[in-house]
């Protein structure tokens, strides 16, 4: 522990040489600080990077209309020694003055996050190499949809013009492509999506020469629901249904992250039983997501058997979720203050059935699909992500661990009952597409192990009457929350989800909720991974990055 403290002290020393409003410890692994001068940002970021904080989790802006400022939040992380720094600074709100230095030249992983802030808040980043709007459709270009004074109704009212803007810009893009490409050459631009059999709602503009890929420019935002804006229109409990739609495949863990942030601001400690229930439900959701994720790698290669076999198992886990919450997919089962429903013993029987089914099937899947020789031929040498790239691009979850980086929020910054669970980092070595598929399977086994531990604990405590199933699941959280802010990180099925929640005084709904979701960073990698590869590698690499458009666009 002492070594960690010295490392933390190093960060504080660096920060104290700049003008700051405060430097304080936040939770166990964070240092929170606010710079007085936004011009210092680049130097501070450089110093932090030299000190080992190489990863930028996300860049988030908060619009304070009354104070006439935009507050920038930078979340720097060190995935190796688990020290993190939450850096804030204010910039003016006027659109011409709303300018800050880009940290993308130092942290490549910040690129899309800064583009997102640019599209949503109109913050201009100087020296950003590629500051184009992202996520939003063309009718939002030059507007600032997430600012508090943006008039959504006026924007929606002009729907015909908006649609024409989008259609015209696609037509223009096609014309420009025709100009750019030699009509007699073999180069072309393929639209890989958004209605492609393997793409999902994302469009990769694939610039290719025959089968060879020259470059990829992902066009995202086809399922943009403005979730971060939507939650501010709901009360704190109503917001969970927006948060869980980050991606329905693992809906529980995203709700856990949001609820933890609310509980932190409200100052509420949930019961031990609720903590264990969050672990059980979260791991079941993780399993149901991983089963689809592993299948996704094989679907990309035209083999659907894995998906069907995994679906067969997944049904049993969904049966448990259904018996608990009444819904199979969008469960809305986690609420600020605990878990929504009480537990009945027969629900645990459903869970046991699912666990038995998994144990009965897993060896078949391992021998046929995890050790598949054709998969090895295809995936062992393709899509390789080195540990350095993981740190630079802020990759997380399955993708990071498949490259041998030991990062897992459940262990790094334990939440819920994970502190009492015996678990270890699972990693692979080479970080290839095949390794990511193997990693997903290994984590499925880990999840089942965690569920078994938690279930055993719950059953023991119920037997000794320490848990009261009928009323332990919830503690009261006030409807109105004080002014405050909190960040909460959870290990979601795809990796780190960071939620930054800001509340106003006597708030009944969130003032600002930033959702940092893993697929955004993973999609940022695509051009880097696919340049110079062939068309056949696109679906495999795309599938193995375990991308879900739900959390990509939000």
């Amino acid at each position: 522990m002492e070594g960690d403290e010295i490392l933390m002290q190093n960060i504080k020393n660096i920060l104290s040489s700049y003008e700051t409003e405060y430097i304080e410890d936040y939770k166990t692994v964070w240092i929170k600080t606010k710079l007085l001068k936004s011009g210092d940002l680049l130097e501070v970021a450089k110093a932090l990077k030299e000190n080992g904080l190489r990863t930028i989790s996300t860049v988030s802006a908060t619009d304070f209309l009354e104070e006439n400022k935009i507050e920038m939040n930078y979340f720097f992380e060190d995935l190796l020694t688990k020290r993190n720094c939450w850096l804030k600074c204010d910039i003016p709100r006027e659109i011409e003055l709303c300018v800050i230095d880009s940290i993308t030249p130092l942290f490549v992983g910040a690129s899309w996050h800064e583009r997102e802030v640019f599209s949503m808040f109109g913050v201009k980043f100087t020296n950003h190499p590629d500051l184009r709007p992202i996520i939003v459709s063309q009718d939002f270009y030059g507007k600032t949809p997430f600012r508090k004074d943006f008039d959504w109704d006026a924007h929606e009212a002009d729907i015909v013009t908006n649609m024409n803007t989008i259609v015209d810009s696609f037509a223009n893009e096609e014309l420009e492509n025709d100009k750019k490409l030699d009509p007699h050459g073999s180069e072309m631009i393929l639209n890989w999506g958004p209605t492609h059999p393997a793409s999902g709602p994302i469009r990769l503009k694939v610039h290719c020469d025959g089968e060879e890929v020259l470059g990829i420019d992902p066009d995202i935002g086809f399922v943009w629901r403005a979730l971060e804006h939507l939650v501010t229109k709901k009360d704190f409990i109503g917001a969970i249904v927006a948060v869980e739609r980050l991606c329905f495949m693992d809906n529980i863990n995203s709700m856990v992250g949001y609820c933890q942030a609310v509980e932190e601001i409200a100052g509420v400690e949930i019961t031990e039983f609720a903590k264990y229930m969050r672990v059980v439900l979260g791991e079941v959701a993780r399993l149901s997501s991983h089963m689809m994720g592993m299948a996704g790698v094989y679907n990309a290669l035209g083999l659907h058997t894995v998906m069907m076999w995994n679906m067969d198992m997944r049904e049993f886990f969904l049966d448990f979720l259904e018996s608990y919450s009444g819904a199979r997919i969008a469960t809305a089962a986690i609420e600020p203050g605990g878990v929504r429903y009480s537990l009945e013993p027969k629900m645990l029987e459903e869970l046991q059935k699912a666990l038995d089914k998994f144990d009965a099937t897993k060896e078949d899947i391992r021998s046929i699909f995890v050790k598949n020789p054709t998969m090895k031929l295809r995936g062992a040498k393709i899509g390789i992500i080195s540990a350095d790239e993981v740190l630079d691009y802020a990759l997380c979850g399955v993708v990071a661990r498949a490259s041998g980086v030991k990062t897992d929020i459940r262990i790094d910054e334990p939440y819920g009952a994970y502190a009492n669970i015996t678990m270890d980092y699972i990693t692979q070595e080479s970080g290839s597409a095949q390794d990511r598929m193997i990693q997903i399977f290994a984590e499925m086994e880990q999840s089942v192990d965690i569920i078994k531990q938690a279930k055993k604990h719950i059953e023991a405590k119920v037997a000794s009457a320490e848990f009261d199933l009928t009323k332990d699941h919830m503690v009261k959280v006030p409807k109105k929350l004080p002014k405050g802010e909190a960040i909460s990180r959870v290990e979601w099925a795809r990796g780190e989800v960071l939620m930054h929640l800001v509340t106003a005084e006597k708030a009944t709904s969130p003032y600002r909720l930033k959702l940092k979701a893993p697929s955004f960073n993973h999609t940022m990698m695509l051009n880097h991974l696919l340049e110079g590869k062939t068309l056949s590698d696109i679906p495999l690499i795309f599938g193995s990055l375990y991308i879900c458009q739900g959390d990509l666009d939000r």
């Binding site: 089968e211 069907m308 046929i368 056949s536 679906p539």
Partner: protein, 318 residues
């Protein structure tokens, strides 16, 4: 009169249609079992009428011809593909007494008719004026060139062993001994068949995750139906070819008739489907490497083995 029966009923048009409907249903049902699914189950016993309904639906739907293509080329290619794919049925000895065209060059006719089919599909892709179809067309041509070499070499090994290209006499001369001698040839034929029929792991030309459906992309309605018919007629020609050349055709353990041939064809289909359910797709480069570095040299070695076997096991040059 016989001729008209042969063309319209067996082994002509109706038979191919029935085969297409039935095999399509069998593929779906068998694949469903491997997938732990149910498969089609509502229409008819065990869903057996489902594919008939599907095909009749396709027949009645509009065939959309994209803007900017030559409509004649676009629409005639599926028809041509279906017709050519059906022709090999005339050469196959279905029963001891029924071979529509019995010729001493039947084997040659069979491999040529099977061999030009991918070229027609390439033209469908070429005529679609679609980037994905074009890529699919290029892929199918590449695959055809590299897979057909070993396919032909493997298919000709029975001719070399028996000294005839007449399919009837190949069937008649086959014995258990010749089956084992031809077994390596059969394996090579089977692997090349997977490539020729675009089955996993060689389903590269119509890889939907990469290039949508390749040459199929722009086709719909009747034209799509004809292309599917061509595909299944091609299955039949290739399976029947394999059964005739290597597995003794219509000859069975206890009696000789059509059902012995049918069972052999279905066994090959089952084997193909099982590979389909457990093997992901490989890339173009890997396919080329596999074909030219392993499959073609092995096919040549196989010819040497047939010659040696003929001299030393079957006793001399015929």
């Amino acid at each position: 009169m016989d001729m008209i029966f042969n063309i319209v009923v067996f082994p002509g048009l109706l038979y191919v249609l029935l085969w297409t409907v039935a095999l399509f249903w069998f593929f779906r049902k068998f694949m469903a079992a491997l997938h732990k699914r149910v498969g089609p189950s509502f229409n008819g016993p065990a869903g057996s009428l489902q594919t008939l309904f599907d095909l009749s639906k396709l027949l009645t739907k509009e065939s959309i011809t994209p803007k900017g293509v030559n409509p004649y080329l676009f629409s005639i290619m599926p028809l041509l593909a279906a017709t050519i794919a059906m022709l090999p049925t005339a050469l196959i000895p279905w029963t001891p007494n029924l071979t529509v065209v019995s010729s001493q060059y039947a084997l040659l006719g069979l491999v040529v008719l099977i061999g030009i089919e991918p070229f027609l599909l390439f033209l469908t892709g070429f005529g679609s004026d679609n980037k994905y179809s074009f890529l699919g067309g290029i892929r199918i041509l590449t695959q055809m060139i590299s897979m057909e070499t070993s396919f032909f070499l493997a298919a000709l090994s029975p001719a070399l062993l028996f000294g005839t290209m007449n399919l009837n006499s190949i069937v008649e001369q086959s014995t258990w001994m010749s089956f084992w001698i031809l077994f390596p040839g059969f394996l090579l034929y089977f692997v090349a068949l997977l490539g020729l029929l675009e089955q996993p792991p060689f389903n590269i030309p119509d890889a939907e995750q990469e290039i949508v459906y390749g040459f199929y992309t722009e086709y719909s309605g009747t034209n799509y139906f004809l292309l599917k018919l061509a595909e299944f007629a091609e299955f039949m020609a290739v399976f029947a070819g394999a059964a005739t050349l290597f597995l003794g055709g219509f000859r069975g353990l206890f009696f000789d008739n059509y059902f012995c041939l049918f069972i052999k064809m279905i066994l090959i289909a089952i084997f193909m489907m099982t590979i389909r359910a457990s093997t992901p797709r490989i890339t173009m480069k890997q396919m080329l490497n596999f074909s030219w570095s392993y499959l073609v040299p092995l096919s040549l070695l196989n010819l040497a083995w047939i010659m040696l076997a003929k001299i030393f096991i079957l006793g001399g040059v015929a």
